[in-house]
């Protein structure tokens, strides 16, 4: 039982950290709601994983890849705004999931269930989190510069398309990891709220990104501790902790 709790905590710390770090880039690139949508896109994969009893992140990844490729293809074909196409894909995905998601699994799929993670799940999450964090750290400045001026970035020999693709892949991985902790419905908050809060404390970029990382970790740790105390699902506690930190951060808001 205690080992089980420790696994949950470790998984939460790593996923919260990398999601928080990612969130600073998501807000900068005005993509905050993309994480939310992708969380929903992942639902059929999460449902399958819950039914057949394998790691939900592994279930989420192929569905996310399919969803992203579809959005990308539709965009090339229709030239409609990306957000409209994302809307089409994510609602379709949710609708499909609810055709076969058993009622007793709905809660775990939508708001997460971190109480059952085992040793291998934890190891898998930790490895993926560290890997994704290192990739994000490597591309961080390039993504920011591209965001400031794409032309300037290109002249500085930054392969803009390549880095955007890597960034999108990182988002997909973090979402796939995050659905384990907070579920499909609440995943978006893990890649929005930490940076929104950190922004209010931060006076430079590293305070911003690492502050968001720290807030992601704190939210997950406190959320999982509250789950232990109250025996209610961890997902909502994690998100509410992040929201509370955001509210507190308003006091420190720097102009």
């Amino acid at each position: 039982m205690e080992a089980q709790f420790l696994y949950s905590l470790i998984t939460g710390i790593f996923i919260g950290g990398v999601a928080g770090y990612l969130s600073s880039l998501m807000i900068t690139k005005r993509m905050a709601l993309v994480g939310d949508c992708l969380g929903h896109v992942a639902l059929p994969g999460v449902a399958l994983a819950l039914i057949y009893g394998f790691n939900v992140s592994l279930g989420a990844i192929p569905v996310l890849i399919l969803g992203i490729v579809l959005i990308w293809l539709f965009e090339m074909r229709t030239k409609l705004p990306m957000e409209a196409l994302t809307g089409v894909v994510f609602t379709t995905s949710v609708a499909i999931a609810f055709l076969f998601l058993p009622e007793e699994k709905v809660s775990a799929a939508l708001i997460g269930d971190i109480s059952q993670v085992g040793f291998w799940d934890t190891l898998f999450s930790v490895i993926f989190c560290i890997f994704t964090f290192l990739v994000l750290r490597k591309i961080f400045s390039k993504i920011i510069l591209t965001n400031l001026s794409e032309n300037l970035a290109k002249v500085e020999h930054i392969k803009v398309e390549r880095y955007n693709f890597i960034f999108l892949a990182c988002i997909a991985i973090v979402v796939a990891l995050g659905v384990k902790v907070t579920g499909s419905l609440l995943m978006g908050a893990l890649v929005i709220t930490p940076a929104a809060a950190a922004r209010n404390f931060a006076s430079n970029l590293s305070q911003y990104s690492y502050g968001a990382l720290l807030i992601g970790v704190i939210s997950c740790v406190l959320g999982i501790l509250l789950f232990k105390v109250f025996a209610l699902p961890a997902g909502p506690f994690v998100i509410l902790t992040a929201s509370l930190i955001f509210l507190i951060s308003l006091i420190f808001k720097k102009i």
């Binding site: 920011i144 001026s149 032309n151 300037l152 002249v155 006076s203 430079n204």
Partner: protein
């Protein structure tokens, strides 16, 4: 002729279906200053971006081999919600502190240690432009391309940028291509002027180009210096 750093021949650029640049040819030697003049919508910025490989084109653009190009775009802005400090912006280029301070000093920014900690988003437009030019200069490009560096900046700011650029030209013999839609002091420092309105209108030395008759032709009305 000596070794040109840039040679452009029969350049044609279309954006959408509109011809933006027609049959343009010119060249540039090392340590020369080329000013590209012309009214708004003449294709000046497009020309600059085409030279940088950002637009498709027909014709030939030949840069000297392995040339290191610096570019100062006209649309650079830092959003309010991005807490990027000046120092962090320079760190994108993996340069060290003395190099940062030197580049800022070139652009007339003193007390730079304190300045480096400032947030980019709170700088005035003039300061931001100077920081950007310093950033472009910091890893010592062979040539810099500036797109309207003085645009939307107040007179005081313009003067500082202008003075800094002139000092830079004098000290470092930097090769420069500068786009401007107005004729100011800048023109007098140029080795060559390219007056553009889709096609080349005039190309040559400033004293040959900047005459009231020519200016009227470039800008379509009476204009004086």
């Amino acid at each position: 002729m000596a070794n040109p750093i840039l040679k452009v021949e029969n350049l044609n650029v279309e954006l959408g279906r509109e011809k933006v640049i027609e049959d343009l040819s010119f060249d540039l030697e090392e340590k020369e200053i080329l000013v590209i003049l012309g009214p708004n919508g003449a294709g000046k910025s497009v020309l600059l971006r085409t030279l940088l490989g950002l637009h498709q084109f027909q014709g030939e653009i030949n840069w000297k081999k392995n040339i290191h190009i610096g570019y100062v775009p006209d649309d650079f802005d830092v959003p309010q919600d991005l807490p990027l400090s000046v120092k962090e912006f320079f760190q994108f280029k993996k340069v060290n502190l003395p190099e940062m301070l030197q580049a800022l000093q070139w652009m007339g920014i003193r007390d730079s240690l304190k300045f480096l900690e400032k947030r980019m988003s709170i700088l005035s437009r003039g300061q931001l432009r100077r920081v950007l030019i310093a950033w472009v200069l910091v890893d010592r490009p062979d040539i810099i391309l500036l797109d309207e560096p003085m645009a939307s900046i107040d007179i005081h700011g313009r003067q500082i940028i202008y003075d800094s650029l002139v000092k830079l030209w004098q000290k470092q013999n930097q090769t420069i291509i500068l786009v401007s839609h107005e004729i100011g002091e800048v023109v007098k420092k140029a080795n060559k002027i390219l007056a553009l309105n889709k096609k080349i209108l005039f190309y040559g030395k400033p004293e040959e180009i900047i005459t009231p008759q020519n200016l009227a032709k470039i800008y379509g009305g009476a204009i004086s210096l």
